[in-house]
Symmetry: C2
Subunit: 505 residues, 2 copies
């Protein structure tokens, strides 16, 4: 096992996360701490970190350092971004921080900051082409992603804090102020023709992006408190922006979802985002909860394992990570996945589900038993809860809910799990139908590995003379398995309208 | 780490559970399998296990044996109860089982069976004095518990299966049959004067007891699918019994909560329980989900650790087990418990909660962060879910829900967690008030250990001149902690109607 601490000292706040890597390779976030340090406060014009700001930062780093030793951290990766990078006394500050706290801060360039954000995002949001922005207090990194690789990137030297100071947008702004602010931003963006009209989704990281998502969720009464991979369209964003720029700072204090410490910064912050959308004509905004901290961790972790920092298949990777983390019986999980896939392929004509559904069925097959970690009894319900809430990447929120329902039904359909209203908020009738079909295939596969001994080596699923058949190709006679699977015949008939014949050729 | 398999071969079914003991001493159930073997089938009269029954049992044991090797079990503890014990060819069967499956079955005496059930129950149900019954297919163990020790015990050679056969109560029974059945049971019970009018709660283990609980839960639309420590009064039991004994086996098939494979046995089973209540004049029935399998495990585990098999404080023990299991930060958890307790004691006049509440507050302090294992973000909500569903012993269902709410609020009160309707099904207005008070004390303590560094070594909580004060006795100046705690001042004022003054003397 190994514990890695990541420290990220920005213009506004300092953050510490601690990741735990288990012996089996699974990793998990076990600690997060945020301290407001306002490091760039008062630097406008002279670009020198002020003594009070330095002392706040040192004090936060001391706390982090103490925390790291308390949590027995093996390795500390600490970076400083725009505030320190742009300050004339940045190097001096880094030296002081090392002396007084023992933390070796590394000043990262704008380009490297963009790259770390990219690593955090590309391994947690399932997308091939997008524009990524990381909107901080003192800089904004823009990265054009094509085929899951960086095509272009730039670090602009303005963010929510310094634009707020420059255009005095803390409180109610006039039309004039707003126009000036927009002209300034647009001019800067114009310098990068690769942004123009790209029409790709925009992924946002950083406090402003998270706050946009929170406000939008509250407006829409979104039923699930999850920001990562939350998506909103350009019209919602436009609406939100319009309602914000008309308010005074006091009125903003009452906007649901807007954090009070950001009320003064939000006009400048959202205006940068709005201008980005205008320039790129992008259709929607995707929020990523993972950014440079996760990027730093993954860079380290993947290098340690001598693997590409861009994970090939983030959904499968995170599902395996979760399975390992909960000490799941991987042999059984993989075997059930093999069986569900064979049924899916053989009965394609019957269920008429698509390739994405096939992937989803594989994932839920891997994870159907993880609830055992909570309580063996009633574990399908606990698997559902874990799938609903785990750090599973590469699924939309709706897909995550769908898989939770399927896992909850892996011993058979039950109304019990549906009582939880949240599922109905996400799933429409077609989704419920899909959930029932997937749950049936999973329940059959689970039955066919009742003894978890992998007795059914292969399956031959197909249709013949208006009947569905399932040929079991076992390495020994699977009496219990066959009986258990046959118990689902009625459900099968109800779901697919055909008899199920299970045979051992 | 170590894996222990427990196998229990009864008259009706064979069961396997696998317990995993982690390096830090935490243990958890990771597997459960049940096979219907009907081992005592056809033995009435001659008392010889029949070849078909033997072959079913051997086949189940083979599956178990395979499962044990697959799960890399280190040690197998296997027992056989009444069916084998009472059979003339019992020893022969044990020999055959060893030869063919490698499983060394040990035939336990009625007395030992009673003792194992006692160990399973006394370490999972918080009670000092009670009558325990273990109602199986071919025997019923009765154990009188006083001061958490066995005072008397007896194994009666009848159970749900052989009484059903003897009195032919499979289908609809006549008044006559019922009277004869009752007379038979009452006469047997009369032989044990220590049962007479004891008026103690009765704890039930075994399939019949679990089925009684399930049926009662369905009748009452009980909102939580948990049997362990479920309680019902003697009137409910009487009602249930009356409605069952009037039905045919087909009608019973439709009784919600009654498992179909038990429909024929339930008349004899519930009549034994009813007669026990008549004889003892007991007020209520408590169902235990833990019985001889858990007893066998705990006997082994506690002996390994050289500790008394009767755990002193099951609530604290199981809370620590869960904390260890989820790799919680024990130092922080214990420290928060210390701080909440100090506030509880110093502000007794203010909150007016009792000694049981003090215990509950300690437990939730220990467990408030376990949700981190699911997802650090939003972890109070996950802690709530885990507390609601974990194998936490020594709490009533209502108390478990109360603690779930408190844990969900440990960063401050939130309506979000209350949306889950289940809590309101269990908690009344007084409980909610208590939950708010406990959550406030927990949130204060959590704030006072924000950095998890244990900076506030001791607390001095009290009342002076109509104000509540909190003197922090730190080993270094806890700036962050004091600020964080002060954020709860408004909540404090609202909850207790007094100003809170936090000072560092």
């Amino acid at each position: 096992m190994q514990r890695i601490a990541i420290i990220d000292l920005g213009s506004n706040s300092a953050r510490l996360i601690v990741m735990h890597i288990y012996e089996n390779g699974a990793y998990n976030l076990i600690y997060h701490q945020k301290e407001g340090v306002r490091l760039s406060e008062g630097t406008t014009g002279e670009n020198t970190l002020r003594p009070e700001a330095i002392s706040r930062a040192i004090s936060a780093l001391k706390t982090f350092s103490h925390m790291c030793s308390l949590l027995k951290v093996d390795k500390v990766l600490a970076v400083a971004t725009a505030a320190v990078r742009n300050a004339t006394n940045g190097q001096e500050f880094v030296k002081l921080a090392l002396e007084q706290t023992g933390i070796p801060l590394r000043i990262v360039s704008g380009e490297e900051e963009a790259k770390l954000g990219f690593i955090g995002v590309i391994n947690s949001v399932d997308i091939n082409d997008a524009l990524l922005f990381d909107l901080g207090g003192g800089s904004t990194e823009l990265t054009l992603i094509r085929n899951r690789r960086i095509e272009q990137s730039v670090s602009l030297p303005f963010g929510a804090v310094n634009l707020t100071e420059k255009f005095s947008t803390q409180d109610k702004v006039s039309e004039n102020q707003l126009t000036e602010l927009k002209i300034f931003i647009n001019q800067k963006l114009d310098a990068y023709p690769w942004l123009k009209d790209i029409g790709l989704p925009i992924i946002g990281i950083g406090g402003t992006a998270r706050n946009i998502a929170k406000m939008d969720q509250r407006r829409k009464n979104y039923p699930f408190p999850k920001l990562h991979n939350y998506r909103l369209g350009v019209y919602s964003l436009e609406d939100l922006w319009k309602s914000i720029v008309r308010t005074s700072v006091n009125q903003r204090g009452k906007i649901p979802g807007l954090s009070s410490e950001r009320a003064d910064l939000i006009v400048a912050g959202t205006t940068i985002v709005k201008c980005l959308f205008d320039a790129t004509r992008s259709p929607n905004l995707i929020i990523s909860g993972c950014g440079i901290r996760e990027g730093l961790f993954l860079e380290q972790y993947r290098n340690q394992e001598q693997q590409d920092v861009v994970i090939d298949d983030i959904l499968t990777h995170s599902a395996h990570n979760i399975l390992l983390f909960y000490n799941g019986n991987s042999l059984h999980a993989e075997h059930v996945a093999l069986l569900t896939t064979a049924m899916f392929d053989g009965w394609q004509e019957l269920h008429k589900m698509g390739p994405r559904d096939r992937t989803l069925l594989q994932i839920v097959s891997l994870l159907h038993d993880i609830g055992i970690t909570i309580n063996y009894y009633d574990h399908p319900r606990h698997s559902a809860y874990l799938i609903e809430n785990a750090r599973l990447f590469g699924l939309t929120h709706r897909e995550q809910m769908l898989l939770a329902v399927v896992a909850g039904w892996h011993h058979g359909q039950s109304a019990k799990y549906v009582r939880n209203k949240i599922y109905s908020e996400f799933l429409d009738e077609a989704d419920w139908q899909k959930a029932r079909k997937m749950a049936l295939l999973l329940a059959l596969a689970e039955s066919l590995d009742t003894t978890q001994a992998g007795l059914i080596e292969r399956l031959d699923a197909g249709l013949k003379d208006g009947k569905a058949y399932l040929g079991l190709l076992p390495n020994t006679i699977p009496v219990i398995e066959k009986q258990a699977a046959e118990k689902h015949s009625r459900w099968f008939k109800k779901e697919f309208g055909q008899e199920l014949k299970i045979e051992i050729p």
